[in-house]
Amino acid sequence: MAREAKKKQSTKLIALSTTNKAYEFRKPLEKKIKYQGKEVEIKLHEDPKGFSYIVWKNKKYMLDVIEKKQNRYTIMVNGVWHTFTVETPVSLKRKRYLEQQADASSAVSIEAPMPGKIIDIMVEEGAEVKEGEPIIILEAMKMQNEITSHITGLVKTVAVKKNETVMKDDVLIEIQRG
């Protein structure tokens, strides 16, 4: 009985999007959504081929879990993906607090937008870069792509070497805002 009570307390969960939008669900396991002031029941289906979908306002929405790492989820709905961290009310509070503490002036990293090979590095450590300035040439799928800096500042570290192969999201260069 005690365990049952505890479970009820902790059922409220929040999905926090990458743009910091919070979606609160009181009873996710009961498949109910509060929508425009009303509680709407959600039905999850699986078609004969094994696709998962939700029927919402008489339309089918195909769902796929693209990525799941601990509380971090990337969910695809009709071909568009959305990333969330799933938080409890307590963990959300803690997360918001920690974010406030983070130093706003820390270095910004330029990451590889796609997997590929480093063809050229146009900056050195300590060099000044302007927003929009090309800093690296990355070859991917036989195309040479210019990677530009999205901030103005000083190059703190060059994390890659010429001819090195990088994966998507690998840090290429770190720039100190300035």
Binding site: R3, K7, T11, L13, I14, A15, S17, K21, Y23, F25, P28, L29, K31, I33, Y35, I42, L44, K49, G50, F51, I54, W56, K57, Y61, M62, L63, D64, V65, I66, K68, N71, Y73, I75, M76, V77, N78, G79, V80, W81, H82, F84, V86, T88, S91, P113, M114, P115, I119, P134, I137, E139, A140, M141, K142, M143, Q144, E146, K168
Partner: protein, 499 residues
């Protein structure tokens, strides 16, 4: 000579597409098996497999290995080779080797491929035959200094293009003099890498043109006709993302004029087989010859849908020496067709490649819908080949109806396991100017700022599904014992409980 057996020196959807026509014509099909894709679907569709998967030569990709392909074809006494698109399709040496070995090459002569493949020669031919061209360098540009000189003469912006190129590689637009040296180096490097030829030429850059191409059919007896145009202006970095036929920009008078120019280009090189002549169309309806693609195009289905003509069949008949069964007057464009390219790319991260396994794929069976694909449930997307996995072709009576049918088909086109450009297709369909037919090659950079479209409630449904899955996992963990059998605490279970 009747072709009884055909080696398809290609893979994926185009291999399957060619097999379908071969089967219809009673031709035995052969394909090449590689170690990179030993379980690909096209292998099962073909009648025979030539196995290249063992003793793989790392120095040359299988579909580029001319001598090995020729040897494989000769050993099995194959009558003809169809190169598909990409790989060796526009390699004059390959066509020449086929001719030398008495294998019918299902495409044009090696001479036509060579002359049209060499952009500077092709431009010269166009000039001689009175086809309009853009101003620029007469041949390849020697160095950055020469590029600067010519650019200053004709005025910026200019475009640098690989002489041996195509498909957007080795191409750079230069808007200011200060960038020309850097862009020249980039274009030359890319051209040398992609085409093994660093030559680039320079021409005036039309800022916001439409990309219009004409489908040509020509036989070995001098008959040349065109099958109307394809509108290919929606591109990203010179890569086409969707194509339609006809184009909303062409009046029948302009179609006639451009079609005649396209036929003249083909005649200039004694062209035979199917081919495509590309033009830039400026906002004042003036047009300039860009290049001729001497092969079947990815986007050929839209022409097939509106003309009712099987282009692969025509290529085979022409290769057999048959005369064209159609004259220009027989060609009628019936309705409107749109092809949506479905690439395994993440449009929300700058169209970066999305590798992985297609767990499931399904699309609506509908009279308006044709799907050309090389993947099915369980297919693996490898980094070795291009990212296109399927083409969704929609055909209806009018453009408006074709767009409406496209929206429905895209909504019902489900792929699980990888990110695709379907999200991009949705965004295009939402755009008012696209719906009006009012767009050009700057559509992606200027008009369509966000390259994907989600309905307002979709984020909510995704958020719900994330919390639901998480809650379910916690519940399952609660039911699991915290202590494992040997008395130790299971760290994962503990972590989930502490959160």
């Amino acid at each position: 000579m009747k072709i009884k057996s055909l080696l398809i020196a290609n893979r994926g959807e185009i291999a399957i597409r060619i097999i379908k026509t071969a089967r219809k014509m009673g031709i035995r099909s052969y394909v090449i098996k590689t170690a990179k894709e030993p379980n690909a679907w096209y292998l099962e569709e073909a009648d025979e497999i030539i196995d290249f998967s063992e003793d793989y030569d790392e120095s040359i990709p299988e579909f580029l290995d001319i001598e090995r392909i020729i040897k494989g074809a000769k050993k099995r006494k194959v009558d003809a080779i169809h190169p598909g698109y990409g790989f060796l399709a526009e390699n004059p040496d390959f066509a020449r080797r086929c001719e030398e070995e008495n294998i019918i090459f299902v495409g044009p002569s090696h001479d036509a491929i060579y002359r049209m493949g060499h952009k500077t020669i092709a431009k010269e031919l166009a000039r001689e035959h009175g086809v309009p061209l853009l101003g620029g360098s007469p041949g390849a540009v020697r160095d950055a200094e020469e590029a600067r000189k010519i650019a200053n003469e004709i005025g910026y912006p200019v475009i640098l293009k690989a002489a041996a190129g195509g498909g957007g590689r080795g191409m750079r637009v230069v808007s200011k003099e200060k960038d020309i040296e850097r862009m020249f180096t980039l274009a030359t490097n890319e051209a040398s890498k992609a085409f093994n030829n660093p030559d680039v030429f320079l021409e005036r850059f039309v800022r916001e043109p439409r990309h219009i191409e004409f489908q040509i059919l020509a036989d070995k007896h001098g008959n040349v006709i065109h099958l109307g145009e394809r509108e290919c202006s929606v591109q990203r970095k010179h890569q086409k993302l969707l194509e339609e036929s006809p184009s909303p920009a062409l009046s029948s008078a302009l179609r006639k004029k451009m079609g005649e120019a396209a036929v003249n280009i083909a005649k200039a090189v004694n062209y035979y087989s199917a081919g495509t002549v590309e033009f830039l169309l400026d906002s004042d309806n003036s047009f300039s010859f860009m290049e001729m693609n001497t092969r079947i195009q990815v986007e050929h289905p839209v022409t097939e849908m509106v003309t009712g003509i099987d282009l692969i069949e025509q290529m085979i008949r022409i290769a057999e020496g048959e005369k064209l069964a159609y004259t220009q007057k027989d060609i009628k464009l019936n309705g409107w067709a749109i092809e949506w390219r479905i690439n395994a790319e993440d449009v929300q991260s700058g169209f970066s490649p999305s590798l992985g396994t297609i767990e499931k794929i399904s699309w609506p069976e509908d009279e308006h819908v044709r799907v050309d694909t090389g993947v099915r449930d369980g297919s693996v997307i490898t980094p070795y080949f291009d990212s296109m996995i399927a083409k969704l072709i929609v055909h209806a009576e009018t453009r408006e109806k074709a767009l409406q049918q496209s929206s429905m088909a895209i909504r019902k086109f489900w792929i699980k396991g990888t990110k695709t450009t379907l999200a991009f297709c949705r965004a295009v369909l939402q755009n008012t100017n696209f719906r009006k037919g009012n767009f050009n090659t700057s559509f992606l950079s200027k008009e369509l700022k966000i390259h994907y479209h989600a309905e307002p409630d979709e984020a909510l449904l995704a958020a719900f599904f994330a919390t639901y899955d998480y809650a379910r996992e916690i519940q399952e963990n609660e039911e699991k014992p915290l202590h494992t059998e040997n008395g130790k605490i299971a760290p994962w279970v503990l972590k989930k409980r502490l959160r």
